[in-house]
């Protein structure tokens, strides 16, 4: 993997998840009790042996910068290579939308890296993969570009890119669709190609007025290239909407998903270290089917829920089917059900809060109820 330079695109900009991502990039969303979405993209690259990683920063970059800092917690604070922040392009008079201008503005990073291949990934997907296998597959297939896909398990709303392939795994059609159906081949936002191919795609498309890497560069040029598709067999979630965010978090309560994503000794998911105390369960605690992060203190009942670092659940309080982000405080006798609480929400004594089963109620950061 020494031949590969990685670029993680944090320019997703998603309107479907606005409630939680109003003040932070989607990729900086807290996930599964102690992570942020971007941790998966970075860890996947590091665990695959990629030592030069560029982060294409989102417009709201403070949360991402504060989380990643030097990259030390991902082992990317190196003397050679390591982490490089790629800032978004400066806005100018003919300012365009889309991520292509930002990729174009940072083309030097890939071209001057001295690497043979570039792996472009997107941090709004949750999965644990060994990209070394993707590189081997790419070399064997003789293709110009390789993309990673998985088979959709259920019908899902939200923009997705689907492909059709011939029997030998070569992509015959590539299209963006508004919703995806079970069994369709869902592209996971990861593309591997030689650096010159990447540079050609970005440069020629941008110079002809293109805005979006996927739509304008890849899909429009698909005919010119031989594109192969690598199938990822494991768990995948695409965080495209509030509902998908809620579901993906709850998927982590399935032991097999929890084991696959997080407990692989060779491929741990790294995140910023906070030095929290192990979870303290007191005498009146009752907890079932939940993920509880360090720093929590529990005296009440918690079921089918995910508690982030430092959450406090008071005596007699009940938390069901909910996601409580860092430092939420559910006081004595309070009750929350089907709720997502952003950071530092306080549910005061004896208050009840309930969302619908198919649509969680979202409480804004630092709200006091």
């Amino acid at each position: 993997m020494k031949q590969v330079v990685g670029i993680i695109n944090l320019q997703e900009g998603n309107s479907l998840i606005r409630e939680l991502a109003a003040t932070r990039a989607v990729e900086a969303l807290p996930f599964a009790g102690r992570y942020r979405l971007v941790d998966f993209a970075i860890s996947n690259m590091v665990n695959s042996g990629i030592s030069a990683v560029g982060l294409l920063l989102p417009d709201f970059s403070r949360a991402v910068l504060d989380h990643i800092r030097s990259g030390k917690d991902w082992d990317l604070a190196r003397r050679r290579d390591g982490l490089t922040y790629l800032p978004a392009a400066l806005p100018d008079n003919d300012s365009r939308k889309g991520d292509l201008k930002d990729i174009y503005a940072n083309l030097d990073f890939a071209e001057l890296s001295g690497r043979q291949y570039v792996l472009l990934t997107n941090a709004s997907y949750i999965y644990n993969i060994d990209f070394e296998k993707v590189l081997d597959f790419h070399k064997k297939s003789g293709a110009d570009i390789t993309m990673v896909y998985s088979k959709a398990q259920v019908d899902r709303e939200g923009k997705s890119v689907v492909i059709q392939t011939s029997t030998n795994g070569i992509v015959t059609d590539l299209a963006e669709v508004p919703a995806i159906k079970e069994g369709q081949k869902d592209v996971m936002g990861a593309y591997l190609m030689p650096v010159p191919t990447f540079a050609y795609l970005v440069r020629s498309t941008y110079e002809r007025g293109g805005q979006d890497f996927l739509l304008d560069a890849l899909i429009r040029h698909a005919e010119e290239f031989k594109i192969s598709a690598y199938k990822h067999e494991g768990y995948v979630a695409h965080i495209n909407s509030t509902m998908e965010y809620y579901e993906a978090n709850r998927d982590c309560l399935k032991p097999e998903v929890w084991e696959e994503l997080f407990m692989n000794n060779d491929r741990p998911i790294f995140t910023k270290v906070k030095d929290e105390v192990p979870v303290q369960y007191k005498e009146t605690a009752s907890v079932k089917n939940s993920l509880i992060a360090n720093g929590c203190e529990i005296r009440g009942t918690v079921e089918n829920s995910i508690l982030f670092r430092g959450v406090i659940v008071g005596k007699g309080a009940v938390v069901k089917d909910s996601i409580l982000m860092q430092r939420c405080d559910v006081q004595e006798g309070a009750r929350v059900e089907n709720v997502i609480c952003d950071k530092e929400v306080i549910i005061t004594k004896n208050r009840w809060l309930k969302g619908a089963e198919n649509y969680p109620y979202i409480v804004k950061k630092k709200a006091r109820i």
Partner: protein
């Protein structure tokens, strides 16, 4: 090396033989405690929280795991330019090599390191105790008293006093007038915590005298402190209030872990001073649909599917369905299989309690399953 005001030296070579099976492969300071920590995290975090930037760690017995754990010191924010953690094992000199012959000898053999760091004060700590303390206040007291030596003391019950080194002090000034090592009839209940601040030239003079003495045991408590007192040095006590525990035996280690489980624990790990430790990159722990968890402390990466009560559970531990684990401490990556019973026990790293097996001790006789051991059902 840049000049330092106060250099800390942590004595971390202790074998901890009374911890038996738990110190077979590691030195006592590397013994796990409190769900995610090791004993040495406490003095190291205290140093970091006290603004001490240069720390020598003196290792000797089974140092491999300890050295590996300390790494660059970055976990305690002690990977500093011109400072940080220095690992100091015994080494060979022109006139041959020696093990550290005692606590004072360990410091004596590293006098060249102390000269290099060139501090005004040297803080001597042991890697055996559980407590959080801001040493900067003790240093202030040392300076205000214009002392040669300041010794951290802790009030123990009169019954316990004969087990400790006891300081008899002047009530008003805190000046130490007498020192009794494990006295049958203690004149005071102020026990030495093994925490000393010395003014550097004063310490150097005594270490050099003691180092060449044939009949010395080269121990601070046995030799240096009594000698300094006899010479009329300015020696003061510094009283520490709070939780301080020597975890030198299986029972005391178990008890200190159990102390953490009270509703308002006497030792609050969430207190003002954060305790840092090395981090294993594991997810929040999972509590299964049929599990019950009460009065417990559980770390990341654990998977609890059975019943847990009054336990401290470290990272990566697995408790299978129907297993009952009570009054116990389960060290990293140990596995308690389905239906197994564990009561009043310490299960060491990577040990496996097979399905249906039973491991039971009782209060005062904690059962220890050593590292990597497998306990089968009868």
């Amino acid at each position: 090396m840049r000049k330092t005001e106060c250099l800390a030296m942590i004595l971390a070579g202790g074998q901890g033989s009374r911890l038996k099976a738990l110190t077979k492969t590691v030195a006592k300071p590397a013994v796990p405690f409190g769900g995610k920590y090791r004993i040495i995290d406490f003095p190291l975090s205290n140093c970091a929280n006290s603004g001490i930037e240069k720390v020598g760690v003196l290792t000797q017995y089974k140092p491999l795991e300890l050295h590996n754990y300390l790494g660059s010191g970055s976990s305690w924010d002690l990977d500093r330019t011109g400072g940080g953690v220095f690992i100091l094992p015994p080494y060979a000199r022109e006139k041959g090599a020696d093990w550290y012959r005692g606590t004072a000898d360990a410091i004596y053999q590293n006098l060249n390191f102390i000269d290099l760091a060139d501090p005004d004060y040297v803080l001597i700590l042991s890697g055996d105790h559980i407590y959080t303390m801001d040493y900067s206040w003790m240093l202030k007291a040392h300076k205000m008293n214009n002392a040669d030596v300041t010794i951290g003391v802790f009030e123990v019950s009169w019954e316990e006093a004969p087990r400790f080194g006891i300081m008899v002090t002047d009530k008003e000034t805190g000046r130490i007038t007498e020192f009794q090592e494990k006295p049958k009839e203690p004149k005071s209940n102020l026990a030495s915590m093994g925490i000393y601040i010395f003014s550097k030239p004063f310490l150097k003079k005594y270490l050099e005298e003691d180092g060449v003495k044939e009949d010395s045991t080269h121990d601070f408590g046995n030799d240096l402190i009594p000698k300094m007192l006899a010479d009329g040095a300015r020696m003061f006590s510094y009283a520490f209030e709070g939780y301080w525990k020597d975890v030198g035996t299986i029972e005391s280690l178990w008890q200190a872990n159990m102390d953490l489980l009270q509703d308002q624990p006497p030792f609050d790990l969430k207190g003002d001073q954060k305790v840092f430790s090395s981090n294993p990159s594991l997810p929040p722990h999972f509590v299964g649909p049929y599990a019950t968890v009460k009065q417990a402390m559980i770390n990341e990466g654990a998977k609890i599917e059975g019943d847990v009560e009054k336990c401290v559970i470290f990272q990566g531990v697995r408790v299978g369905k129907g297993a009952k684990v009570t009054n116990s401490v389960i060290l990293p990556s140990a596995v308690i299989e389905e239906g197994a019973i564990v009561n009043y026990a310490i299960i060491a790293q990577d040990a496996v309690i097979k399905a249906g097996a039973k491991v039971e001790g009782k209060e005062g006789e904690i059962f220890v399953v050593p590292e990597g051991a497998v306990v089968n059902a009868q």
